[in-house]
């Protein structure tokens, strides 16, 4: 278990009531679950954002219940490929839940227009932009600044700096390349969150170690998304080891990240909360218990240590 007290001050952000960051053991890991993602069965039309509202409501109700029982807080990862779809999803989310959410898209225009829309309807305080990348262009940064975004994920991935010990260069900049921290400042981001990028399941080793090292050096809330790697593996995993194995590995991958001091974990589809949260809450409780020897106690009585046993 790589858990220790960091000498660097660890930032804590309050995103619409969900606290994230801090020393290990102070706060439970924030669980980030995806909804309306590519291939999500509740979505009928990805471009127009048509979806089964009833099923989506049920998913969020289950998520709330699981979070309540385990003490694991959550942020939604709202995924879309068009501005039109984002508007519909954001409208639904704002009606159904008060939870904060990530605006997540591989299409820059779509995520910028979603952030703009969130600002227009007064939801910017609940939003985290996902994400500023080393390859983000000037116009994206300028648009973020103009909209007034406060929080963004910084995606610490650069093929030249894949090794954990080199990832700090992506944040600080190197060889004339601007670092993500400066890019975030230019975008007006006050509260950056660092994502250390998981390529495939074995590379969770790099991502977890990088998360630990970056948290140690910079003090920002740091995390990663093992879920995508599991989904790349899932066909073989399910066919050779069965559906139950897929579930245990999904939960297990998040545990690897949590025991490496990640403050947040993109654990997969929101549906997975049922089998991922209990394991992660247990891990958070163990970490909180072990941090007592460093004089650290959970900052909230809602912590899994006080809830699940």
């Amino acid at each position: 278990m790589i858990v220790s007290k960091f000498s660097k001050k660890q930032e804590i952000y309050d995103v619409a009531g969900v606290k994230i960051g801090g020393q290990p053991g102070e706060l439970p890991t924030v669980m980030v679950g995806s909804i309306f993602y590519e291939g999500h069965k509740i979505v009928w039309d990805e471009k127009k954002g048509k979806f089964d509202r009833k099923k989506a409501e049920t998913l969020l109700a289950n998520l709330d219940r699981t979070s309540e029982v385990t003490g694991s807080p959550y942020i939604l990862d709202v995924v879309a490929v068009t501005a039109e779809a984002f508007e519909k999803y954001i409208s639904f989310i704002s009606e159904i839940t008060a939870a904060p959410f990530l605006i997540d898209s591989s299409v820059v225009e779509a995520r910028i227009s979603a952030i703009r829309h969130a600002a227009e309807v007064g939801l910017l305080e609940r939003v985290i932009y996902n994400s500023i990348l080393p390859t983000s262009k000037e116009d994206e940064i300028k648009a973020l600044r103009d909209i007034g975004i406060r929080r963004s994920v910084l995606f610490a991935y650069d093929p030249e700096k894949l090794l954990p010990m080199d990832r700090g260069d992506i944040l600080k900049g190197y060889d004339g390349k601007k670092g993500l921290i400066d890019m975030a400042k230019e975008a007006g981001v006050e509260d950056p969150l660092i994502d250390t990028m998981v390529l495939d399941v074995p590379s969770l080793a790099y991502a977890s170690k990088a998360a630990f090292l970056l948290k140690k050096e910079f003090g920002y809330p740091t995390g990663c998304g093992p879920a995508n790697a599991i989904s790349l593996w899932q066909d073989k995993l399910k066919s050779t080891m069965g559906k139950l194995a897929h579930k245990t590995c999904t939960a297990g991958a998040s545990l690897v990240a949590i025991f490496s001091c990640c403050d947040f974990v993109l654990y997969g589809p929101v549906e997975a909360s049922e089998y991922v949260f209990p394991a992660c809450a247990m891990a958070d409780a163990i970490i909180a218990y072990s941090m007592r020897e460093h004089g650290i106690r959970p900052l909230t009585k809602e912590h899994p240590l006080y809830k699940i046993f």
Binding site: E46, E160, L162
Partner: protein, 220 residues
């Protein structure tokens, strides 16, 4: 030191993923008097082949492939001026890119690495590439192969538009088209009129090499 020993240092720097050492030993090889094309074929290409074997044997994984690709790019940068002087003939030209509406380039980067290591002249159009741009580049460069990538089901249909654009530009017959990416399949390749589907980067690059060998045979 023998020529073979210098070349083996180049190969080993790739195989051992030594990012700092690789450009140095490439320079050393040039200074030793080894022709840059030989450094590429017997140093880099052989080194990358060994990296590929380690990947297939599950000793290396995606991260190592990307690191090896990055090392190869650095070595090629060292060799570039000398290669230009030598004007070595590439076995074939490949235009490659990710379709419009898609920003993923991980698989594409690995394919580029493997193609370059085999001596191909690669024109990387990047990500989010409109169909017409693919066709224009194929026409301008007289490319032998067009490799098109997509990772999203929402963007994979754009591949059909790329094939249509090739036809419209009158270059479909002169270029082989290979597609790749998570949502596509052999069946989808047939449906849209592509010539092949690369299940992964290694298979994709092997298909490209096979096409060029066939072309060379039929021309000789």
């Amino acid at each position: 030191m023998s020529q073979e020993k210098v070349l083996s240092k180049v190969r080993n720097s790739l195989l051992n993923l030594d990012m700092k050492e690789a450009p140095k030993v490439a320079k050393e090889a040039v200074e030793f008097g080894i022709s840059p094309s030989l450094i590429v074929s017997k140093g880099i290409a052989t080194g990358m082949k060994a990296v590929g074997e380690r990947y297939e044997n599950k000793e290396y994984f995606l991260a190592e492939l990307l690191i090896a690709g990055e090392i190869m790019n650095r070595v090629l940068k060292v060799l570039e001026p000398y290669l230009e002087m030598e004007k070595a003939e590439a076995p074939g030209k490949v235009v490659i890119g990710t379709v419009k509406g898609d920003l993923h380039d991980l698989g594409k980067s690995i394919v580029i690495t493997l193609l370059k290591s085999s001596g191909f002249e690669v024109y990387d159009l990047g990500i989010d590439v409109p169909a017409e741009k693919f066709a224009e580049k194929v026409k301008d460069t007289k490319a032998d192969i067009l490799a098109v990538s997509a990772l999203l089901t929402t963007s994979m249909m754009e591949m059909k538009n790329v094939i249509d654009a090739l036809e419209k530009a009158g270059v479909r017959e002169s270029v082989k088209v290979i597609i790749g990416g998570h949502p596509v399949s052999e069946e989808f390749a047939r449906e849209i009129g592509a010539d092949a589907y690369g299940e992964n980067a290694f298979i994709g690059s092997k298909i490209c090499k096979k096409w060029i060998e066939q072309k060379q045979k039929s021309n000789s």
